[in-house]
Amino acid sequence: MEQLAELVLNGVSSGAVYAALALSLMIIYQATRVVNFAQPGLALIAAYTAFSVTRATGSYWLGFVLALVVGGALGVLAERLLIRPVQRRSELSAIIVTLGLLMLLQGVAGMVWSNEPHSFPYPLDFRGRFSATDAFAVAAVGVTALGLLLLFRYTPLGLRMRAAAFRPEVARMVGVRVGLMLTVGWGIASVIGALAGMLAVPPFIFPNVLDGVFVYGITAAVIGGLDNPFGAVLGGFTLGIGLSLVSGYLGPELVTLAALVIVVVVLSLRPDGLFTRPRARQV
């Protein structure tokens, strides 16, 4: 029982990270119908920026803020320079471009900061069961999700972004700058991705550090439904707890394969995700 509680609490805090990544993937998918495989690369560069800034100035929070800024800026650049030209071409082109960007960014990170792991600070105290750091992760992701909800539901900007994503032609006719809205979407998503990276990286940073976490982020987005913000958050936390149990009772090395089994089972039964109402699919 003791162990179960421990595992569930661990699962909640790692689930927060998966939920943030899933949210970031979901926003981009909703806006541009592209799964952003470059997300771990963007977040990686952001986290390395924080690493360098923190080492130079000694301030964790300055690094934290700069990481979010750099992450967002990279997302905006990626959308403008790389995604927009291929977006209308084919699903495969967009996937390949984001993968190319991932390889490029990981390679550049390795060239600049080397493949050796560097120690990376936790934001707060990380000792003990459900530490201050864990609480921070859950709170940060909770605030982010709430902020997104308010943005999309109650602000003119959110309304324009939704219009640009769902009916680009109509939105353009009523004066929404669709291209700008898509860029803003990528920017917001990449800030959230950078946040997830900052939470997921400690204790060590190296070029492949986010690969595993990103895989769980995709899993969470897919089981929650790539179209559904509540699904992404719920999917993230459900997956975090589920994988924590697998890790505790079956062995940490099998966690990724468990994620694969979950994805395949969920997609075979509910192709649009667990938390989406089934609807007729367009052919």
Binding site: V35, S93, L99, L104, G110, I218, L226, L260
Partner: protein
């Protein structure tokens, strides 16, 4: 006059070549390629022999993936996982069944990765685009960790090390081990390529293209899209398994770290680089896989750059190449060459001689 007869003679030979059965043509081409490899390895040093063999096993992996992406329109970010299965099957057979001959080991490695391909392919046959990419990505990241889960059987992070038989005793005076190994690798690779070429150009390939281009129409004409996709996935997984087994045979080791996500993504990069759905493109891709790495190291060394630049330059170059090709040159190297060839032919025949 004599010039004319020679030309008709050549045309007749060409004609007979085109009408002979496809399998026979592909086998003849493979035989010619094998003789070329034997010649090439005989005039180069052992180090180059090994590099030629390395190109060989990369070629079969890239060709299998090119078939999957180009002909059947599915994407896999997880082909490193099938190489992992092939390599570990080979290693386990060599260690635990010492009497088993090499060809049997290779066939069993192919069978093992095909079996995995059936499982994965059947499970993912309904998925498309981003979902399929995500699922296979998880496979690529997750499977090598199995070696860490069972360290007694699979050697943990150090992997398995073993020694393979070199040149048979009858030839050992004349043929050094690296040369023999590259012959073995290329023989297996070329036989596999004959299968891939036949699938791609034959009835199965036509059906796969039909499903790729319009699933609903294909299903209406009696094809079964799910099953056809699974078949393509299995063939492609088998190619990956063979590549992994040949790598293990060549290196004498199988370690989990060499089958990570970077390998799977590099294979994809090679397919895109060469040009989707073409076997020649796969050759350019495999050459790039081997030589970008070599040249990256050499360049970094020549410029006096540090080790971590040298180690990461190839992956960064591949990434940049992927982006550049999709944005600027979507048909890849082979597509560019084909267009160039067509332009040259049109010019030689003269304008209007052959509508493009």
């Amino acid at each position: 006059m004599t010039d004319d007869t020679a030309r008709t003679g050549r045309a007749a030979v060409l004609d007979r070549w085109r009408r002979s059965p496809m399998l026979l043509r592909h086998l003849a081409a493979a035989l010619a390629a094998f003789l070329g490899i034997v010649l090439l390895t005989s005039v180069t040093d052992p180090f180059t022999n090994l590099r030629i063999a390395t190109i060989g096993y990369h070629l079969v992996a890239v060709a299998g993936l090119a078939l999957l992406i180009g002909v059947s329109g599915q994407i896999s970010l997880g082909h490193g996982a099938f190489m992992f299965i092939g390599a570990y099957t080979m290693a386990l057979l060599v260690i635990h069944v010492p009497g088993s001959p090499l060809w049997a080991n290779l066939l069993l490695a192919i069978a093992a990765s095909c079996a995995a391909g059936v499982a994965v392919g059947a499970a993912t046959a309904r998925l498309h685009g981003p979902y399929l990419a995500g699922a296979t990505l998880i496979l690529a990241v997750g499977l090598p960790a199995v070696a860490l889960r069972y360290p007694e059987a699979l050697g943990g992070s150090n992997g398995l090390t073993f020694s393979v038989a070199g040149t048979p005793p009858a030839l050992s005076d004349t043929v050094p081990d690296p040369r023999w190994q590259s012959w073995v690798v290329w023989l297996a690779v070329l036989l596999a390529l004959v299968v891939v070429a036949n699938v791609s150009r034959g009835r199965l390939g036509r059906r796969l293209r039909a499903v790729r281009d319009d699933e609903a129409a294909a299903a209406l004409s009696g094809l079964r899209p799910g099953r056809l996709r699974t078949v393509a996935f299995v063939i492609s997984a088998g190619c990956g398994g063979l590549a992994g087994a040949l790598q293990a045979y060549l290196l004498g080791t199988a370690t989990p770290s060499s089958f990570g996500l970077a390998l799977s993504l590099s294979l994809l990069a090679a397919v895109v680089l060469g040009g989707l759905g073409s076997l020649w493109g796969a050759l350019w891709g495999a050459l790039a896989l081997v030589y970008v790495e070599v040249w990256g190291h050499d360049a970094a060394e020549a410029l006096g750059l540090s080790d971590h630049v040298a180690n990461n330059l190839p992956i960064a170059l591949f990434g940049a190449a992927l982006i550049a090709i999709v944005l600027l040159w979507p048909s890849g190297v082979q597509g560019g060459l084909a267009r160039l060839g067509a332009a040259v032919r049109t010019r030689r025949i003269g304008p209007g001689g052959r509508p493009d």
